[in-house]
């Protein structure tokens, strides 16, 4: 009798244990942070902003965290991060950071390195697209997790190029062919081969960079961006730059009238209104504009290739503030935002570029026609790198000086000298004597 009872007891215990395993496994994989409030500063870039805001209820349901969102446009986001960091009140737990701010933010200790947390999560680290991950690696540490990737893409009109038997602008020669073909072509009045962004904010940045990187010989020098090497010594190649400037200068003559006032919105509208055979844009700036019938005259007639030369890639990354009091919960939230399901969902619903490599190959991702192009572009793209004074690189004198060369105000040789000097100045400002 006793033997039978004990056998029943053992069997019941085993049964209960086996039945409980799935539940134990489930609660172990998602730890909840009920009662924790995370304060997030998001940039007002629609894909990023909508992804975070629209997923607030789900975050509450699945993680238990309360998400409060503050937002700002580009410079406001930067200034707010600086404000909050200096005031040391823990105003934000997570901020979206442009990768070029890494040098500055880590120097001032505004954000914490994420290496420890990543070390416990090797699978995640390997699942991320590796290229943007390197954009926030600085001084041997990882400072951010990519959240949205920007890259320069050339969009073109499939119908017109097919009709005129022109090849897509995959390299500079083909692009030149297109641009020259439509220049003052009587069959196509008011139509141009390309439209670039020239205005202060965007264009002068890209106008010569793609070509400069194409010209630059990266083999002998240990540099990632063609401006300074791994010891932060100036390795600017004046000859490569001069050729790039001359190329841009020549191209300028074939651009639409008034293009010097074209920032991204004007260039985009010029293309989707149907006045250009191609346009060079940040992929995120296009979004799904060309397929929106209320905005575009060219629905269904657009395809994309990586920018000719070497495309430029940058990113918005998620960082954890030093003053945050909920770092563990913040990391959990970041991991939640970057699960495969959310990564795909944010791309399909909001147009936020995926950051997990696997997402690029999923069939649902093909919803937007240039997902394949994004993947190809990332492989061959470059980034301008990082130093403490990196934002001075973008917002200081360097690009207007280069632009002077492009529009012919200074000769390319003089421009090259000036730019080289400015790069040295930047390096010294960041604490690297030349």
């Amino acid at each position: 009798m006793r033997k039978k009872l004990s056998r029943i007891l053992v069997l019941t215990a085993v049964f209960l244990l086996v039945a409980a395993v799935p539940f134990i496994g489930f609660t172990q994989t998602t730890k909840r942070y009920d009662g924790v409030t995370l304060r997030v500063l998001t940039m007002q870039h629609e894909p990023i902003k909508q992804s975070i805001i629209k997923s607030i209820p789900r975050a509450k349901a699945e993680l238990g965290v309360e998400i409060l969102v503050d937002e700002g446009e580009y410079t406001t986001t930067k200034q707010k991060t600086v404000n909050a960091a200096l005031a040391k009140t823990g105003q934000y737990d997570i901020t979206t950071m442009a990768d070029q701010w890494t040098g500055e933010f880590q120097k001032g200790k505004y954000i914490v390195p994420l290496d420890d947390m990543l070390a416990k999560d090797a699978a995640f680290k390997n699942a991320i697209v590796q290229v943007p991950l390197t954009f926030t690696q600085f001084n041997g540490k990882q400072w951010g997790i990519p959240f949205a990737i920007e890259m320069t893409i050339r969009f073109y009109r499939t119908d017109i190029l097919q009709k005129e038997k022109l090849e897509p602008p995959t390299d500079w020669d083909k692009y030149w062919k297109i641009v020259k073909y439509f220049h003052k072509n009587p069959k196509y009045p008011d139509f141009y081969g390309g439209a670039e962004m020239y205005a202060r904010d965007q264009g002068y940045l890209i106008g010569w960079l793609n070509r400069y990187w194409q010209n630059y010989d990266f083999k002998p020098v240990k540099t990632k961006n063609g401006f300074w090497d791994e010891n932060y010594k100036n390795c600017f190649d004046k000859k490569a730059f001069i050729e790039a400037v001359n190329n841009a200068k020549e191209l300028y003559k074939y651009m639409p009238e008034g293009v010097q006032s074209f920032s991204l919105p004007e260039a985009l509208d010029f293309f989707i209104q149907g006045n250009a055979a191609s346009v060079l844009l940040w992929a995120a700036g296009m979004g799904n504009a060309s397929e929106d019938p209320s905005r575009s005259n060219v629905v269904g007639k657009v395809a994309a290739v990586p920018a000719p030369g070497v495309p430029f890639a940058a990113s918005w990354q998620l960082t954890i503030a030093s003053a945050s009091k909920n770092k563990e919960a913040a990391w959990a939230y970041i991991r939640w935002l970057t699960t495969p399901a959310n990564d795909l969902g944010f791309w399909v619903d909001n147009g936020k570029t995926p950051i997990l490599a696997a997402t690029y190959d999923k069939p649902e991702a093909k919803k937007l026609y240039y997902i394949g192009t994004l993947k190809d572009t990332l492989k061959i793209s470059r980034n301008c790198g990082n130093i403490e004074a990196m934002e001075d690189f973008y917002g200081g004198d360097l690009f207007p000086t280069a632009m002077d060369g492009v529009v012919g105000k200074t000769t390319p040789e003089v421009t090259a000298d000036k730019v080289s000097k400015l790069i040295s100045e930047l390096l010294e400002k960041s604490g690297h004597p030349q």
């Binding site: 629609e46 969102v69 937002e71 446009e73 580009y74 707010k80 009140t89 991204l264």
Partner: protein, 276 residues
């Protein structure tokens, strides 16, 4: 019809044309806010189209929390104006009526004037640090205090001019009769300078309602105002012309309506040097 009358009519017609032409940009903005983006950038430009839509406004309310931003602006602007009008009118009265030892009075006045000429951009970070230390960040009264700081110089200067225009003899007579300053201020000075007060009020209201810089720094989670929303649509990567123009129209309406209501007072208020 006399020659004079013909000239008058011609002049009137020309004046109408001039004003209508002058207001063209406003018409253009409003028209854009009711169009789809394709129609905003047609060539030749569609000066007039019946193909109108409310999608921009709908999108603002449904997807971008327009009403929330409106509410915040509606709290902060009047609050800051009330605060700065009270403090400012008292200071203006002092500067207008009293003689301060030495040249202190005019020196203070000129210092206040130079404060007004200084762009706030310069002091964003330290201002934030002060407000953070005083726990005024992201609070309605905090932002109102910041606006007061920026509007005070302008308000004090305008009101000073208006108070100086109120004839001093009337006040002196009342003083002799035994009234004290407070009674004089409320019963004599204020009523006689009502147009001036109205003008200062609407200008201060417009300034606070449209202020962007300090709002963008001090308003974080709970108090973001309309200009912050408008600015979010004007950033290059995100420039959505439809939302930008629609939110601009909505933002301009309240001030315009109030301004048109008290228009009579404003015009009187801006008649400096006119015969009383």
């Amino acid at each position: 019809m006399s020659k004079r009358r013909i000239i008058l009519i011609v002049l009137t017609i020309v004046a109408c044309v001039v004003v209508i032409a002058y207001l063209f940009p406003v018409y253009w903005l409003v028209s854009m806010s009711f169009r789809i983006q394709k129609d905003m950038f047609a060539w030749p430009p569609k000066l007039f189209t019946l193909h109108l839509t409310l999608r921009n406004y709908k999108g603002l309310v449904e997807g971008h929390g327009l009403l929330w931003y409106l509410r915040n602006s509606a709290i902060i602007a009047p609050l800051s104006v009330a605060l700065s009008m009270v403090i400012g009118s008292v200071a203006a009265y002092g500067l207008a009526r009293f003689r301060y030892p030495g040249k202190v009075g005019s020196q203070i006045a000129s210092w206040i004037l130079s404060l007004r000429m200084l762009p706030p951009v310069a002091a964003v970070l330290p201002l934030f640090l002060i407000f953070s230390r005083l726990r005024l960040v992201d609070k309605f009264y905090g932002i109102s205090l910041a606006y007061t700081f920026f509007n005070l110089p302008f308000i004090i200067w305008l009101l000073k001019i208006y108070f100086e225009d109120v004839p001093e003899e009337v006040e002196q007579a009342a003083l002799v009769d035994g009234a004290n300053r407070i009674q004089i201020f409320f019963r004599i000075t204020l009523p006689l300078s009502t147009p001036g007060i109205a003008t200062t009020f609407i200008l201060a209201l417009a300034a606070s309602w449209n202020e962007f810089l300090m709002a963008s720094q001090l308003a974080t989670f709970n108090t973001r105002t309309l200009p912050v929303l408008i600015a979010s649509f004007i950033w290059d990567r995100n420039l959505q012309w439809g939302y930008a123009t629609a939110s601009a129209v909505i933002s301009a309406l309240p001030i315009l309506i109030i301004g048109l209501f008290i228009q009579r007072y404003i015009v009187k208020g801006l008649s400096f040097g006119a015969v009383k």
